[in-house]
Symmetry: C2
Subunit: 222 residues, 2 copies
């Protein structure tokens, strides 16, 4: 690999490498993405990579420091490499996706609604494109596994799960069909949620290692 034959690195000018994170969340039957105010306008939280730092560590660091957010997993969405994408110079940015429960966000965090799979307000740089890709990645992951980002807690009712999936995929699902698609990947605890004016719903847990069948994907993407 990688150039020449020696044991020294080339002395080409090197790019700055940044990390931007699209933190998605669900609230009021809609998807939202966390944003911060920057000198260049509304943007995703981002930072430059520190020496020797891992990309996911930088993603973790910037969420903590700029928004007080702790996310469990970061997913590489794509490297944005247009030479003129940042007018401060040559900056490559590794876009990351993450998802956190709305209730875990610190108060004061700015979120932008996602409508028609795009941010409802334009973001700076190429950050809107990053959000689009992050939503696609979220759907791909949610079509294979049950709420892998733990937007719901460890236990949840099937209604809660269905409503979450309806927001993530922007679709409606019949309750019986939805149930039969996802239940093979769930373990029912005996416990029930508190009744909300009707029969109490059973609480379910994700089965360890369970994956949704390909047929579930067909339903979800209608």
């Amino acid at each position: 690999m990688t150039e020449g034959a020696g044991t020294t690195l080339t002395d080409y000018p090197r790019p700055s490498v940044a990390v931007d994170v699209a933190v998605l969340t669900v609230h009021e039957s809609a998807l939202f993405v966390v944003t911060v105010d920057s000198p260049r306008g509304l943007a995703l939280p981002g930072t430059f990579l520190h020496p020797g730092e891992r990309l996911s560590d930088a993603a973790h660091r910037v969420l903590q420091s700029k928004a007080g957010i702790t996310a469990l997993q970061f997913h590489q969405i794509g490297m944005f490499d247009a030479p003129d994408r940042d007018d401060r110079g040559w900056v490559l940015s590794m876009a990351h996706g993450a998802a956190v429960p709305y209730g875990s966000l610190p108060i004061g965090v700015k979120v932008v609604r996602i409508e028609d799979d795009r941010p409802s307000q334009p973001l700076s740089f190429d950050h809107s494109d990053m959000v689009v890709l992050a939503v696609e990645d979220l759907r791909r992951r949610y079509a294979s596994n049950i709420d892998p980002s733990l937007l719901l807690g460890e236990e949840f009712t099937l209604l809660e799960l269905k409503q979450l999936y309806e927001v993530v995929f922007g679709n409606r699902f019949p309750k019986d069909t939805f149930r039969r698609h996802v239940s093979p990947a769930l373990d029912g605890t005996g416990a029930t949620s508190v009744a909300a004016g009707g029969r109490p719903a059973e609480l379910y847990r994700r089965k360890v290692g369970a994956v949704l069948p390909e047929t579930a994907s067909a339903l979800l993407r209608s």
Copy 2:
């Protein structure tokens, strides 16, 4: 995004950014990946990013210069960022995947067979992991579209397509079931291939914009 508030870039040390390419091809009923000899052993073709260069341009450049290969599309597979992954220093590498027909490879190109979804010989650095991800990406793309990398030409018979898919997915498919899954995404030309000891097969073209249904994915991944 991205640190501080000013209009200047930070003066942190910057990583070298490399591009490595896993060029996959199909030959003798098996998947292969193109490799090059490097001072550190068998490796994927790779190069450092030149100033202002796009990642895909670097991928194109390294294939041309190191192996004489021209690929049509490059897919970002993942950014490999372990700080100690390269003993020459701090080198991030953007792994790319590509696929080219075996017949388009220049003579003398070294290929390594892929067995059980891994290179049959260990590669240097983290390049074996890159190949694993490139194969996954290839399958994801081939499950959604008909031979999107044009490993077959513009026209092909259904037998050729089936054999290609059997290699890519490491599966066998019944000819009639396979046909019924893929034919909605194909246009039949009237023409036929030259007979090979039996009835000549019709030649098909990819329908523009056609995608394979989710159900096809279930068959392919058996």
